[in-house]
Symmetry: C2
Subunit: 857 residues, 2 copies
Amino acid sequence: MDARREPRNHQRKRRDGEHHDGDQTLTFVPGPLGPDGLKRIDAYWRAANYLSVGQIYLMANPLLHAPLKPEHVKPRLLGHWGTTPGLNFIYAHLNRVIRERDLNMVAVWGPGHGAPGLVANAYLEGTYGEIYPDVAQDLDGMARLFRQFSFPGGIPNHASPELPGSIHEGGELGYSLAHAFGAALDNPGLTVACVVGDGEAETGPLAAAWHSNKFLDARHDGTVLPILHLNGYKIANPTILARMPPEELWSLLVGYGYEPTFVEGDEPAVMHQAMATALDSAFDAIAEIRKHAVHGATQRPRWPMIVLRSPKGWMGPETVDGKPVEGTWRAHQVPVAAVRESPEHRAVLEAWMRSYRPEELFAEDGSLAPDLAALPPKGPRRLSANPHANAHKSASLRLPDLRRFAVAVPEPGRTKAEATRALGAFLRDVLTLNAEARNVRIMGPDETASNRLDAVFEVTDRAWQEEILPGDDHLARDGRVMEVLSEHLCEGWLEGYVLTGRHGLFATYEAFVHVVDSMVNQHAKWLKSSRDLPWRRPVPSLNILLSSHVWRQDHNGFSHQDPGFIDFVANKRGDTARIYLPPDANTLLCVTDHCLRTYDRINVVVAGKQPALQWLGPDEAARHCAAGAGIWDWASNEGEAEPDVVMACAGDVPTQEMLAAVDWLRHHVPDLRVRVVNVVDLMTLPARETHPHGLDDPTFDSLFTRDRPVVFAYHGYPWLIHRLTYKRTNHGNFHVHGFIEEGTTTTPFDMCVLNRLDRLHLAQAALRAVPGLGAHAEHAEQALRAALARHREHVRRTGDDLPEVRDWAWPERHVHEHPDRRIEGDIMQCGPADAGRGGAGRARPSMTGRSSPEAGR
Amino acid sequence: MDARREPRNHQRKRRDGEHHDGDQTLTFVPGPLGPDGLKRIDAYWRAANYLSVGQIYLMANPLLHAPLKPEHVKPRLLGHWGTTPGLNFIYAHLNRVIRERDLNMVAVWGPGHGAPGLVANAYLEGTYGEIYPDVAQDLDGMARLFRQFSFPGGIPNHASPELPGSIHEGGELGYSLAHAFGAALDNPGLTVACVVGDGEAETGPLAAAWHSNKFLDARHDGTVLPILHLNGYKIANPTILARMPPEELWSLLVGYGYEPTFVEGDEPAVMHQAMATALDSAFDAIAEIRKHAVHGATQRPRWPMIVLRSPKGWMGPETVDGKPVEGTWRAHQVPVAAVRESPEHRAVLEAWMRSYRPEELFAEDGSLAPDLAALPPKGPRRLSANPHANAHKSASLRLPDLRRFAVAVPEPGRTKAEATRALGAFLRDVLTLNAEARNVRIMGPDETASNRLDAVFEVTDRAWQEEILPGDDHLARDGRVMEVLSEHLCEGWLEGYVLTGRHGLFATYEAFVHVVDSMVNQHAKWLKSSRDLPWRRPVPSLNILLSSHVWRQDHNGFSHQDPGFIDFVANKRGDTARIYLPPDANTLLCVTDHCLRTYDRINVVVAGKQPALQWLGPDEAARHCAAGAGIWDWASNEGEAEPDVVMACAGDVPTQEMLAAVDWLRHHVPDLRVRVVNVVDLMTLPARETHPHGLDDPTFDSLFTRDRPVVFAYHGYPWLIHRLTYKRTNHGNFHVHGFIEEGTTTTPFDMCVLNRLDRLHLAQAALRAVPGLGAHAEHAEQALRAALARHREHVRRTGDDLPEVRDWAWPERHVHEHPDRRIEGDIMQCGPADAGRGGAGRARPSMTGRSSPEAGR
């Protein structure tokens, strides 16, 4: 047991009566706050609470200048009171320490439905009115503030992008602490206060995130101050952390590596002094830690944290209709309902609101009482205006010249390389060029080396604050690679990092990236909403590299096979999602270089790590990627006429199989006129009105023809190609071969065979799709079937592909002179315009690199 | 500090030389194992280790009767050694306590890549050979055992369904502990040993799952014995739990509510005695807890757990090529590579394998030495043969007569009801009828009451083992409703529960069910693979109810809007996924009743909880659901001729909007011949060869016509309807209105408007789709636009729908006499055949209820 652990239940004595009735006066108790200070902080808290209740209930008569009437009350009461007074309490006290210590602080508010309180505070700080001038600190503004909340066309019930100072949506729960740590990385002067709700604390991602302190370098990173807010209840249930024995909670938090201070109770004066004491000692401890860190302390510090245990719906109605509300699960949403309909309930609401004594807090005209206005921090020190929460650091990355990392491709398809190994060298130099800026990180579940990106370890290490033992591989306190076996943490850290304006890449397994479907989803929604807000600065894109992909799961088998993340991302709005399938090393370099230049995107790149045939030299790769898709003339034999068949491919394994199929066809059916089309940017396929990368129809038709059969070898589930090309003229002639769940342990080629994505099936598909080949095709099919049978037998017997399959290369005889036929395109030309949002008055980061006049690409 | 916490690093003294060379003899140390017992358990461990190494490396010469040659070694070495010896060690010791105490035990193996060890143990127990007769305990069988591992057509590297005794795939990490708790629920006689890898322990779902002890009733549920296996390293990194200060680890586990015993070291004799001591005291403690529980102990017990800290790759090569391997991250995969190519490496492997002294363990013919054969438990006590791990309890549920819960629908579309409230009453009676069997549970993140299923609390409570305070709402130790704010836990518990043969329902938010995308994905893969194994018994379906759905997020806004889970599930194989969109209460009852009768499925049901118009009486609902889709004649006016337009709908809100659109059309364009089609079972739409529920083409055409325009109002992303109907004759004429991300806070109707899924846009779509309406249509469109503008203005101003929109009902004048036109169908006729897999020798659960001769439905 620890002296700091206060007893659990020194509850405020319950008053009689059904609600608070104006007796919210404060008796002074001693502590760090003097009598005036105590009074002022309590007044500020009351003001925030008043404004919160107003938002939940009222659509007119904001300061109750008139007695409350039904028409002042919203027809549908959709807010949540429960967590709000606690958040307001924390906010007021954070304001005090920011001011007194001149702290640079951002706050992450984890609890769901916290918007009324947080919006109230942004309003009190003046930020809200600065950004939304019609919600100013006057009577009209207050009326609008109240009305807009949970109202059609208004703002939602969570700390959404519309809330200034927020980098975290309180809708889906679980990610606050990971976001907070992500924001603190590489920001040594910054404190990120992170309020964790006890509901949220039950989620897995949050439970894992406590361990983020094992990765935060006290010297080069900022501070995260977790404030665990124990309200006691979720919707209808007690919470685990609030109800478990207090000594176990203490043990748990100590086990997570923190030094907790408990602030528990419900008597405001006592609680104000306890909270002020706790924050003072926390920041004293933090100052000590920082001092030691600068002097090279090598042990991970035990960071302080605060546990605030306060009643749910604190200082709201104690009872309604004879049932207890304050301190129970009944305080979760609207503590008193049917206010329009019931005069009794209306009286409860009115008495409740008047118990905050609004006349002391606001002038007749709705402006703040001078005492109150003086309280919050000023300018960028305000939690609602800290520039870190609006990506003020979003300087673009310095990027090296791509050519230096290019793989030499003297002839297409005749040499092998590991695409991600080339990328690793590029990323190494990205880290070097930006070493001083400290504004780029690589995250992943322990696969950086296994993904062959290990060149980065020539210039940095893996971040690690625990003991480092001899034989450990590239661990260091200030490593820029973050590896933890939790996709949730990797994704959450990176989100926090990019939302505060820095850059990064998350490399992970294609099958298991589904673990973070929901997080990526919420991030996409955040970006989408942010783009509609001219005052929100662009944030660097979230870059996801999937390199242990579905076609390369030799031994792992079925559980590791799933290309569905692409489908998931493709459901997101066109201006957010990007999906790239580079066929080889040089295209992977181009694509990644591009992604690292973009803002406000979710870029998904799928590229294998195994040695594989290389198709395009650096120049061809740049042109091909810029266009997003193109004809590979060197592989085609259509000549001047229209081709008999288009052989299209997207993805590295499908490209290899398709080229081998074309080789087979050109050998066995030399008269067949074949065109090869490769697609790097999947979003060239849909119509331009659907996605800004979509090719215009004439260009699309110039690649895929208007009427010829198209055999399409695709990396993922085949129907996505049908969906994306749905509105194209030639859509009805597409024959897509992709991944179908078969569920087995296989070698790569064998898996292709099972999915009919292998060279022989693709050749067969072409023969069947082209009309009029007759006996010729039949003959060829017989040869195909025999080859297939021979190969499968060999694989099953030896565990390896047939040599002629394994060692196949694009034959020298097909290598033409003429370059690939270009289509116009500049998707990879991605200067500032790629930030993709204009808007007058919008600050744009200055970016190096090429630029393009085309907005929205 | 605790006396049981042993010092961390009493490492075995390193021997000289690069590998173990036959000196694995044991010096006796005192402990619960006598000299013979110690020797025997060590021999068993060596045997399992030998067989594990053999699987990773060899394809011939299994007992090294000949010197090791290149051709004996697999061409591609794809196994993982690191975790294996530790798992084998635990397995051997679990065998001892099972035998000595006659325990009924299932084991869940969390660490990834553990298959070589677990398969080796199933082989040693004889179960493997019983199930796969060509992998028997002889020389041929051993050769096959070795060869099949990580080999084309063989078995994967994880504890997949092919492994007898397993209910948990070790591929994607994080779910072992939740599965273990799910398996233990309602099995008071069962112990579930759960080995948690220290890599896996970094994941969020696993971190949250420790708290499952707050929900496990010591009296009515079984025991979970967590064994945290600290190997020290993941792929290239140390693990958090292995490297954090030991006192913090102790504090963490105590904080999670456990009583940990630490078994640490690497000297086999010492470790055997320590592990035996730890298991003995754990099971003594468990016996005490159970005794107290039976006598009504009211405090949550502190369950024992074991922490095993042993070197990664324990007893494998200590060094290879001069680099340390045993006890480092280098032991993760194959400790010695290129064995075919390098004689030196081959010598390392051979010496390593011979160090286990196979000649003592196996006879010349490959059979087990008699001493060894006597060691494991017998028959169903074997971990690889425990019937709980093969759903032996999969008795069907007793289900009440649906009619008793039916909502009266005197006329379609003129009365309102809350669909989920009717379902709650049904579920209440399901719980009552099966109260004695204790074989059904409801899981959810604290939304059972909010989803209006609260009738269940008339007969049960929420499971809760912490203190229960006055005012708490329906908490009890043995509650059958499990609520925790972690979708991962809900899903994981339910998976463990159904995989051991029991039934359940997981009710959650539509938007946030994406949190468990990856878990559902893996469960679907498990089911798919299991269906291919005739010896695996069917398991009750995983039923997911999404009732806070995308169209009902009044105040929550954009973060709560996402219907993409349907798309995700629709990517799964046809024989696993089912998606139901019941339009009202009676159809929801039919669908749920059906789902609870099925096996081996993932059933997704989407149905709102708000008061809504009711369309079908109980008889019509049963018929409609049995067909899966049908014409609603009472709403149509096509008469004898073909209709001008088909107005199709799927989902409750879309159905309401579509019917209102039809009302509008019939009023304003009375000559238009309209047919209304409603789809309950989304999987009626694809072709039958794609999905067993797919309608045959003539039936599909009889609903949707071959050439008339179809306006389709759909619950989710519209393109899924296009994809599902892709191969249908009339596909080109489908105009689908569904959810498009718009991102706003809205009332339901307003959101429909933004998505053009509202009645007015649907009517407009019909007018535009039907050719030749001319001026008529133009006129109607003008009226539509005016109505729309009026409504939007009203919503923005008042926060509510226009009364005529809000209170719209199907007008009496349209109510015809004739019943809906039936199509043939018996999707809801779901007796034993619905288990969907025959296979000779396959045990089938006896099921009550209707039956159908049609398999695979």
